[in-house]
Symmetry: C3
């Protein structure tokens, strides 16, 4: 008989946040976690304002003064390129009367000037001019409110907490694996924005299992092995996968790459017991596929340090709001931002090599469909689940220990994060 | 002097639900009953989740596997035709992760398969397949949540309460009167859906009086006697009505039909004192009218058992959400479903004989206007009343004992239902 | 060194309403004042239902039976011309079942007849007919609910309080200054309605300073001196202004007009310490401008009693919802009405002389842009400020004592009004 996953092990009940309905280990969360405005407020305070949030890519703000906004719940943040490699993250709220300062989702400025009364701030948020203010006030007392920012291998993360949790381990994890992908030398070919009518946890739970892939993701399952698990991987698939892995190992060694997940099924993530909220791994694709494209063929020039198309896929994810799937030729980042108990803003980016030219080196019609279809299939699933959860007939159901071990892992991480912060 | 209706008799104050503002007998309800979210929750719990709700017509699901959805408040229900004559009503919520199972408002299935992970249920809700689940769980523990369902003469009612109130008396009332109309052998010619920005009680109060008909329903008053009451029925109208009734009695006896309401004014309904939440009666139409159509002429083939067009009108109603007006040739059902304190979903169906063919046997342009105009005139009235009630200047006003005795009856039934459930 | 404004003087802390977050004198209000539904309810009860509200212009209802509606929060009010000069203001709520009576924003009636059951009211709200009601009820007990109304020089104000605060001082202020403008003999050339996504106080604070004018109002600053203050009025501007004032004084004396505000910067308003919630003054325009039009030239025939285009501008304002800028040839009124914590309905009217004919005497394309642009520039600013205030990074900031003395004055008046009402 197939072996169930270790996540089926007992889960310490101390992780149950006080005052919220109890949750049975191995079963879905009770309804209020998905639609109660009070739980949403807790989520914002304890998860979203304390964790490291993926903001965007360094290549989106290549020049000093380039910025983009990140908007979640009622917050608006400016992520801006300062002098040299510096990246700053600042609350987009003037210290005078509170107007937002940047009104466009991205742009270029020499100073951050409030459009209301022209209070002017340097790129790092220091107030440098305020015509008409009385002399008994000191400009030094009115900087824009800064938030923590870290950049690793071209990926920008921010943290709204006054005392951020450590980022070092995440940087150590992402850096070596993400560097060859060349994010710092990438170009955004396209970004799509979605408003998904579902709680952000519904979106994550969907992301953490491939139990739904067979029927819902006809494109995705052609390229990957995730949807096979210990209970249903036939010997033929095991052989195919072993061959793919050994072939990869031989070729990749020369490139300094390595397959870090060589089984069917998804790699274990997250892992609350070990405090793991991030992970990355390189995985083989199905034989004959060199890119997560509709036909598995390369759809853009090689990115970063790659010399060969056969590099499998690089996958990264960080809670509470980031995942990325990268092929040899393009990279797809997904970012979640909560807007309400049942509303999540999701952006999906398609990145290619810096000098790739649309129409010459790649076509959006070939570059985008694999992940656009897969993403939009998931958003529909999430909205259906949210609608059903809202019914009074909803009651928690059991997770498959073979296929939903990572959903259980996500729920443990979530409850742990909520409980830890009390 | 005209005699006031018995509903003007004293009303027992014990029917006042505790904690809600007191209501003066014979006067309209205080504002919170119409717009307070807390009262709306009470209404959902004590009226809508305990009463028998009209769902739709058996002829809408003629084949095994045909289904339609019923959606109220946050609930979604599947009404589905099982084997033979069986009709099942099931919460549209998968027992695994809570996704809705049916995503279209109506359709045909062989099994109810959740689109998320393909848990599969039989037409009566039993779980029959769940790929990938561990063997220490038992499928028998995860049926779809069933709700009670009753079918009478082709009309389907459901009840969300675990222990439904008796339906027998309602079935005994509707059966004999509805059977000749032939609902089981009917066809839906058209259904219109409305979102009315008014509390559901505003819609019922409008339905329970014809005081507003003279000015607001120019079509309706040509065909009916409801808008005359004891205070204002002139001798000429009494004579006309008596002639219509005696002519009907002579003809209908041969058909086994009978006029069960032979006065001007509306029949008394509901009757809280006697626990009456349903009623049905056959009434004469104005001389020269054989159908509730714009000109009173027949607009479709005879329905059901009728052999003659002169059968008056059959009227049925059941609280909290159903009324029907049937002529010899077509039948119009109206169903209310609450979506919020000030939002009510209303569906109106036009039914004709099973084998009637559009364009040959009937035209929608002749079939629909009488009740489409009358219905839409009422929805506008209801939205105007809701808007005024929301003002702080609103204060309860007196009902006419001549014309609004049934509105008083409705309010008594409502308060009684709310109070009884405590 | 420039002198700060007297509003920088200490402000009595007793004006702090109990239970609300404390506010530091000279600094902006804390966040809840701008987005908390509970504060919004307080604002409606203590400011909007107690103060005198500008409703509209007498010239909009010239004939007996003409009416327009005023809608704020959940209230709907009928302002109607009675016999002769009488103006009545009535809650638009039938005393029978609560329906609104007038369903169009303006119109003409002979009686106010409820569209539901035709209860009929005289123009002053007395119930005069109710077909079908029982004889033991007395019509005299069911008038429409009246609210106080005052008309001064063609401007109509209403007060929803049962015991309105005195209006006499406001009438004495507006009457002499507004009469020459000829509002009673005016015509509405156009009205524009806006829904601004900002708290009503955000809109007022914007109105009470010209610190934002230099960059945001390129049209407005060409015509006016408001944007210069004690700290930044150069000698050249002082000379220009003094010349404009003395020239005006010489000419206006013959007309019986007078410049009542002859400094740069805005006149002091409001003044909580002296209970001043209204003010009016005549001000010179920049040399060469005779009208607040795009090029300063006259764009319509002279209004009212004016014999000469060189009359400067008449400005009036009344809290909580009115301001007006009038030139020799046209007058622009602005009215605010709150619809929610972050939603304000704003109407802007353009008035011209009664007999002016569009296309012959004036073109909307020349009449409207100056104030349409200036108004819409402000609404954008207000929505940006509201968005920033909603951030958790918002914290109160300091007002410029040179430029925002009237914003401080507005806040004092507001807190005083809120505190006084306890």
């Amino acid at each position: 008989m197939a072996t169930a996953h270790p996540s089926a092990a007992p889960f310490s009940p101390k992780a149950q946040p006080s005052g919220l309905p109890p949750r049975r280990t191995g079963w879905t969360l009770p309804q209020p976690y998905f639609n109660d405005p009070a739980v949403y407020r807790l989520d914002v305070e304890r998860v979203w304002k304390r964790g490291w949030l993926f903001a965007g890519h360094l290549c989106e703000i290549p020049r000093t003064g380039d910025y983009f906004l990140v908007e979640l719940d009622t917050e608006s943040l400016i992520v801006i390129r300062g002098e040299g490699d510096a990246v700053h993250a600042l609350h987009n709220v003037c210290r005078h009367r509170g107007s937002v300062i940047c009104t466009e989702p991205c742009g270029h400025v020499t100073r951050l000037v409030c459009p209301y009364h022209q209070w002017a701030y340097d790129l790092d948020g220091r107030l440098v001019a305020w015509r008409g203010m009385q002399s008994d006030l000191d400009k030094a007392d009115f900087p824009l409110t800064r938030v923590a920012v870290r950049e690793v291998a071209g990926l920008i993360f921010i943290c709204l907490a006054p005392e951020p949790t450590p980022f070092e381990a995440a940087a150590a994890c992402f850096g070596p694996l993400a560097t060859p992908q060349g994010f710092r030398r990438a170009k955004v070919a396209r970004a799509e924005d979605y408003l998904v009518k579902a709680n952000w946890k519904v979106v994550w739970e969907n992301n953490r299992e491939c139990y739904h892939c067979n029927v819902n993701h006809p494109q995705y399952i052609q390229a990957n092995f995730d949807h096979y698990n210990t209970d249903d991987t036939p010997p033929r698939v095991r052989e195919v996968m072993a061959a793919a892995v050994s072939r990869s190992e031989a070729r990749w060694a020369a490139e300094g790459l390595a397959a870090t997940h060589a089984d069917t099924g998804m790699t274990l993530f997250p892992d609350a017991a070990r405090g793991i909220w991030f992970s990355a791994n390189r995985t083989t694709l199905v034989d004959g596929w060199v890119s997560e494209s509709m036909d598995g063929r390369q759809v853009a020039p090689l990115m970063g340090d790659y010399r060969d198309a056969d590099v499998g896929t690089l996958r990264m994810r960080a809670l509470p709001n980031f995942w990325n799937h990268s092929s040899c030729d393009h990279s797809v980042s997904t970012r979640l931002l909560p807007l309400g108990p049942q509303l999540t803003a999701i952006r999906v980016w398609w990145l290619v090599a810096e000098h790739a030219v649309e129409g010459r080196d790649y076509d959006l019609g070939r570059l985008m469909p694999f992940w656009q279809l897969t993403s939009e299939q998931d958003w529909i699933i999430c909205e259906r689940q949210q609608k059903g959860i809202n019914s009074t007939a909803y009651q928690p159901g059991p997770y498959s220990t073979f296929k939903e071990y990572n959903v259980e892992g996500f729920v443990r991480w979530y409850l742990d994060t909520l409980g830890k912060s009390e």
